[in-house]
């Protein structure tokens, strides 16, 4: 048994093996930090690099993340306070009046795969719900998605509502008709043209 086998299983998107080997290392008394950092978190860095280079495809990246999370779930009850904490909390949703969620779902899964806790509010989410959830979850970032130009004004409404509530959470926007210029116009903290860009942006905002 070895940590390397867990690492390899994550890269092979093999959830069953990740779970089995993580449990086995835990049972064998291996240092938990080592299982966590070398066996589960490190391979996700390689997954991210290989995805950015075009060597890993989206489904592979997502399933690798899912495999890693399965291993993390086994470790969680044994982790010390502060260990295995997510990199931050992101609240994401498609804005009021809009039911499209394909892009939002992809961003949500990729952010989670990158080590963030994600609260996905779904579609047709009003600004009050975004504000309330951001406060409850102590969110670091709110990510707003829209596919329709007719629902883009709801992004401005939400950004304004966050500011009026005196919240310091960062708000980012995205979706096919959304532009960098629009994000600046409505006072958002960032914009991304695609899902990988959204992950990068969130990492920068939370750092």
């Amino acid at each position: 048994m070895s940590i390397q086998e867990i690492y390899n299983a994550v890269l092979a998107f093999d959830e069953a093996t990740v779970k089995a080997k993580t449990q086995a290392e835990l049972d064998a008394g291996t240092d938990i930090s080592s299982i966590l950092n070398d066996g589960l978190i490190s391979p996700m860095d390689e997954v991210g690099e290989r995805f950015s280079a075009g060597d890993l495809f989206v489904p592979e990246m997502l399933v690798a993340a899912q495999a890693m999370k399965a291993g993390l779930k086994i470790l969680k009850p044994h982790l010390a306070e502060g260990q295995g904490r997510s990199k931050g909390t992101v609240v994401i949703g498609t804005v009021k009046g809009d039911l499209h969620d394909i892009g939002k779902n992809l961003v949500s899964m990729m952010i989670e795969g990158a080590g963030f806790e994600v609260v996905d509010l779904g579609v047709d989410v009003d600004s009050e719900t975004f504000v309330k959830t951001a406060a409850e979850k102590k969110a670091d970032v709110i990510a707003l998605s829209a596919l329709l130009t007719t629902t883009m004004p709801a992004m401005e409404t939400t950004v304004r509502a966050l500011k009026e509530a005196g919240m310091t959470v960062k708000a980012i926007v995205g979706g096919a008709p959304v532009t960098h210029a629009f994000s600046e116009q409505i006072g958002a903290d960032g914009y991304s043209a695609d899902a990988p860009g959204a992950v990068k942006l969130i990492k920068e905002l939370v750092a």
Partner: protein, 469 residues
């Protein structure tokens, strides 16, 4: 005629149909709108919350009332069209939020752009009808932009046009404006004047806005183009046979609703489904898979004796370059050759539906003309085959000055407006077709003449729009 693209056999078609019926009767389709759910319930459909399930009998009953061909009327009756069976039309790009210039730079669309597209359609020798939402005009309020677009559709162009199905309210206003233009709303039930695009939300849903529009438009028997854009591997199965099953199930569900709301409403069976780019997660449209889906959708529509919408000049390229035209030509020609009846996005589309390009519009328009010429059958008869000219010209002679050549030299072959045919010496090395198109745009618009319209109709339309804003 040998066509190496796959022709679905009766067995294949039935396999797809039966699998779609399994989806429709077991999983069902969600309609997020109360009136539609009530309608389904009252007609004996299985309704469980928002999910409707369908039986074979219910689907077949609906199919029996949907026509295989219909007449679409323009303000100018000479420009009215037949759609379905062997009749097909080219319609322009629909729905993008941005304009894209020759260098690939995007900017938000405006009403000026929209009006320009209406004028291009009006002056087009190859595009058969006007569309809707050529580009989303972002310099007018979003919630009432459809009124401005409908007004331009009716006033700047006298060809048939596509309607505004963005919501129930937009559909109602579309009907009111069409009524003003065509002699009253009551006349519309006998006179299809708009085709409205209804998209499902894959997998297996219809939004309240789309359902509301179906109900309003079907009541006046205005044709509905019921379509989906399934992204293989994301919002639908990754393998094409299974994707076709999902596609088919969604369209049939929408068709059933349309027939319940307005029996006999023409329904165009449509899709623009495509793969997911597995490296980025985005839809990718300029692909061989898109062409395959397009061909098979046209075949499935014929199986059901419905008109079909597929294809268009579809590309992922972000500027009007060689990739744009290579991908566009592939998808355009496939759709037409496969029997598609309503070729939406026939001109202009760029960047995977993100933009419209004036240059690509003009280049695609020329391509549409070439494709239509390719599809025009030759006439083999005593009148068209006269061996006399061959005998007169003899062995080694020239045909250039024969009377037949003189008579037909201007009409025998396709007349190019744009593509360079004069050889290398006739053009500057810096000129490419996109530049030629760009330069030609102003000249083309100068040829535009606003079509005649009864001044009282135009006044009433303007008043209606002002009142509704």
């Amino acid at each position: 005629m040998v066509d190496r693209m796959q022709t679905l056999t009766e067995k294949d078609l039935n396999w797809i149909h039966d699998a779609s019926m399994e989806v429709l009767s077991n999983t069902g389709v969600a309609f997020n709108e109360g009136e539609a759910l009530g309608l389904f319930q009252n007609r004996g459909f299985s309704v469980d919350g928002k999910v409707v399930r369908f039986s074979e009998k219910q689907v077949q009953e609906a199919l029996s009332t949907a026509p295989s061909r219909f007449r679409l009327f323009g303000r100018n009756p000479e420009k009215s069209l037949w759609v379905g069976e062997d009749d097909w039309v080219f319609a322009p790009t629909y729905g993008p939020p941005f304009m894209v210039n020759r260098d690939g730079v995007q900017r938000p669309g405006t009403m000026h752009d929209y009006d320009t597209f209406c004028k291009l359609v009006q002056t087009s020798p190859h595009i058969d009808m006007n569309g809707y939402k050529h580009v989303e005009p972002q310099n007018v309020p979003a919630e009432t932009a459809y009124l401005d677009m409908m007004l331009s559709n009716i006033v700047f162009c006298d060809r048939p046009f596509m309607g505004s199905p963005d919501s129930r309210r937009a559909a109602r206003d579309c009907l009111e404006m069409a009524g003003i233009a065509f002699g009253g709303k009551d006349a519309l039930a006998q006179m299809p004047v708009t085709v409205s695009l209804i998209n499902s939300l894959s997998p297996l849903q219809y939004s309240s806005e789309m359902v509301g529009a179906v109900l309003e438009l079907a009541r006046y028997r205005q044709p509905l183009l019921i379509a989906n854009l399934i992204m293989g591997g994301t919002s639908g199965p990754v393998t094409l046979p299974e994707l076709l099953v999902l596609m088919n199930a969604e369209i049939l569900a929408g068709l059933v609703l349309a027939q319940l709301a307005g029996p006999g409403t023409p329904v165009i069976y449509g899709t623009t489904s495509c793969p997911t780019n597995m490296k980025t997660g985005a839809a990718t449209v300029g692909t061989p898979e898109t062409a395959i889906i397009s061909s098979m959708a046209a075949q499935l529509a014929r199986f059901y004796q419905l008109p079909s919408r597929t294809g268009g000049s579809l590309t992922d390229a972000t500027l009007p370059d060689a990739q744009a035209l290579a991908e566009g030509a592939l998808t355009l020609i496939t759709a037409v050759r496969s029997g598609g009846n309503f070729i939406l996005h026939a001109c202009g589309m760029i960047g995977g539906y993100i933009g419209n390009s004036f240059e690509k519009w003009l280049i695609d328009e020329e391509l549409c003309g070439m494709v239509r010429k390719m599809m025009t059958p030759l006439d083999f008869s005593a009148e068209t085959i006269d061996t006399g000219v061959i005998a007169r010209t003899g062995i080694g002679g020239t045909y250039l000055m024969q009377p037949e050549t003189l008579k037909h030299c201007r009409s025998a072959y396709f007349d190019y407006a744009l593509f360079a045919k004069g050889g290398a010496a006739s053009r500057s090395p810096a000129d490419d077709i996109a530049k030629t198109a760009s330069d030609r745009l102003r000249q083309r618009l100068e040829s535009y003449q606003k079509p005649d319209i009864d001044p009282s109709i135009e006044t009433d339309l303007n008043q209606y729009v002002r009142h509704r804003k």
